[in-house]
Amino acid sequence: MRKPRIAPSAVVWLLIGGVYFMLPLLATFLFSIKDAQTGKCCSLSAYSFILHDPHFWKTIKLSFRLSLETIVVGLLLFVPTLYWVHLKLPRLRPVIGFLALVPFVVPPIILVVGLLQFFKHDVHAPFWFLGKPDFFLVGAYVILAFPYIYFSLDAGFRSIDVHTLTEASQSLGAGWPTTLGRVILPNIRVAALAGAFLTLAIVMGEFTIASLSAFDTFPTYIQYINETQAYPAAAVTLMSFGITWAAMLSLLLIGRRGGQRTVRVGIGR
């Protein structure tokens, strides 16, 4: 069999794209390995500084925890909702699709100002809600993650015949929770994971809401380092980038493994 030939123009564009993508990373990396005292190559002191900074570990742990909480709340909220919409209220799909676009349209700065105004001044929310990131921030992050979770899950639900699978499961004696847990969820697993990892990436990098509501998360730590330490700032930026890419890579690997078993079911109705 003949090998597919790659057009020279495609190679040129790939090279341009690669340079555009890699050059800033390379520059940041080269900057990050300069010695803090002499400003010359090569030293890992910036990385050592970050890894030995307890604040780094504290904020990254907090951001991870918030990511996981956002993912759990988001999936608990949206999986049953979308399942029900696909099964019983398909006419609501465009409405929810439109609502899912709102967080794209409304900038986070507007969102956080509105949320703070509402909870602090209008309803006088208690401290346990406003003062703890696990409540206020997770609430805001679920809104931010809504489009990512929604569009991932929607694609997942559209790839299976929700009606037939549900009815088949019910006719065999399963109730709603069993059907959702044993039949529907495993078949939208890849879509749910896609939504989860996108949420992880968003929360790990979200600065505006955390900063304006005075929480100390990983992105605010990056900003702090950026203002005070030049070389560690470059190091922490690359580390943040690495974390996001590791999350995306896991998504790709899990998606590939799951994709081998994912098939379109039924012939529609």
Binding site: I160, D161, T164, L165, E167, A168, S169, Q170, S171, L172, G173, A174, G175, T178, R182, V183, P186, N187, R189, R261, T262, V263, V265, G266, I267, G268, R269
Partner: protein
């Protein structure tokens, strides 16, 4: 006691009446097919029985117990769907085992039952395969095994073969019937394919506009259709709108035809004369004297159907016509354009009164 009874089932979707109050009773171990064209209400009826939808009026009774308002998961009804419905995240074995797990049966019993059922449907070797590794012709038997695993009180099949190619469809329908007879399970089968319904059912119910037009055994339905719709829907039929001319004679467009079924009917009554193509005799003009009431016509078309050739003959003036099935060898002597005589035995034709019916389109047979 009937195994399954549908009593006055009525279901409307907005202004559209899907089921206009149907009554149907299935004896234990009986195989009944609901047959009808798209939109006649047959799938609605099956979904009501399965519990996926609720009737606006009427009752569903299983073994004497009203289950109209029982949820589908508690009805103990096995269902095979038109769409491929195997759970994609499970192997064939796990699919069959699913209902047993829900019922919390011990693992050893489950495994034994799964292996018995996969053997029953002839797929013992496919147990470890996922749905996407099975062809459509293998997925549906696995779905049948899965439905049978829970030992349902009634087996419901919603056009399970419609997505398969013709050869596999014939094989599988015979398999379904063999398994149904072996297990003696009461079965309600929905199809739009009259050949399928006639070949495997104990009784067939023809649905038309949400009503059951006729229920009967396959030979009754084929040989003695009760309404013009049933006559039109089941098999191929010559339909000739006629009038009773005298005792045992009808007038079809000025031609007097002897029909035994017309005996004792009031003279002048409008009737629909039904003649099956296989009862029609077509012979070249001059092959002996033409029988009484024989049409003299021209051959206008041949359709080769394998075991027979379907020959259409029409009067030269474009008036009346008949379709007959003749052996392919004989069809060679009936060249298109040649003059022939066409006739049918007086005892073979059926008559339906059109006294209270709108005038149907007559002449061309309906091929189904």
């Amino acid at each position: 006691m009937a195994s399954l009874e549908l009593q006055g089932l009525y279901r409307a979707f907005g202004p559209v009446v899907a089921l206009a109050g149907i009554d149907l009773s299935l004896e234990s171990g009986e195989f009944v097919s609901l047959l009808g064209p798209s939109g006649c209400g047959k799938t609605t009826a099956l979904r009501l029985v399965a519990g996926f939808d609720r009737p606006d009026a009427g009752r569903i009774v299983v073994e004497g117990k009203d289950i109209t308002n029982v949820s589908p998961s508690k009805r103990d009804m096995g269902m095979v769907f038109q769409a491929y419905s195997l759970f994609p995240n499970m192997t064939a074995e796990q699919n069959v085992e699913y209902g047993l797990k829900i019922r919390k049966q011990p693992k050893a019993e489950r495994r034994k039952r799964v292996s018995e059922l996969l053997e029953l449907v002839g797929l013992s070797d496919a147990g470890k395969r996922y749905a996407h590794q099975l062809s459509g012709g293998m997925q549906q038997p696995v779905a049948l095994a899965r439905a049978l695993a829970i030992e349902p009180r009634v087996l419901l099949l919603d056009e399970p073969l419609s997505a398969l190619d013709a050869k596999v469809r014939v094989q599988l329908r015979e398999e379904i019937r063999r398994i149904q007879l072996e297990l003696g399970i009461t079965t309600l089968y929905v199809t739009h394919d009259q050949e399928e319904a006639l070949s495997i059912s104990d009784r067939v119910a023809v649905l038309h506009d949400g009503r059951i037009d006729q229920i009967g055994t396959p030979p009754e339905m084929y040989g003695n259709p009760a309404t013009p719709f049933v006559a039109e829907f089941i098999g191929t039929m010559n339909r000739l709108v006629s009038k009773v001319a005298s005792d045992g004679v009808v007038d079809y467009e000025g031609r007097l035809l002897r029909v035994d079924a017309a005996r004792g009917l009031p003279i002048g009554e409008r009737v629909l004369l039904l003649v099956r193509p296989e009862t029609v005799t077509i012979a070249p003009v001059g092959d002996g004297p033409a029988s009484e009431g024989a049409f003299v016509a021209e051959v206008v078309s041949h359709i080769f159907l394998g075991s027979v050739t379907r020959v259409r003959v029409e009067a030269p003036d474009g008036g009346h016509g008949l379709t007959g099935d003749v052996p392919p060898a004989q069809a060679k002597s009936l060249a298109i354009g040649s003059r022939v005589t066409a006739s049918f035995p007086p005892e073979s034709a059926r008559l339906l009164s059109l006294a209270e019916q709108p005038e149907p389109a007559a002449g061309d047979p309906d091929d189904h």
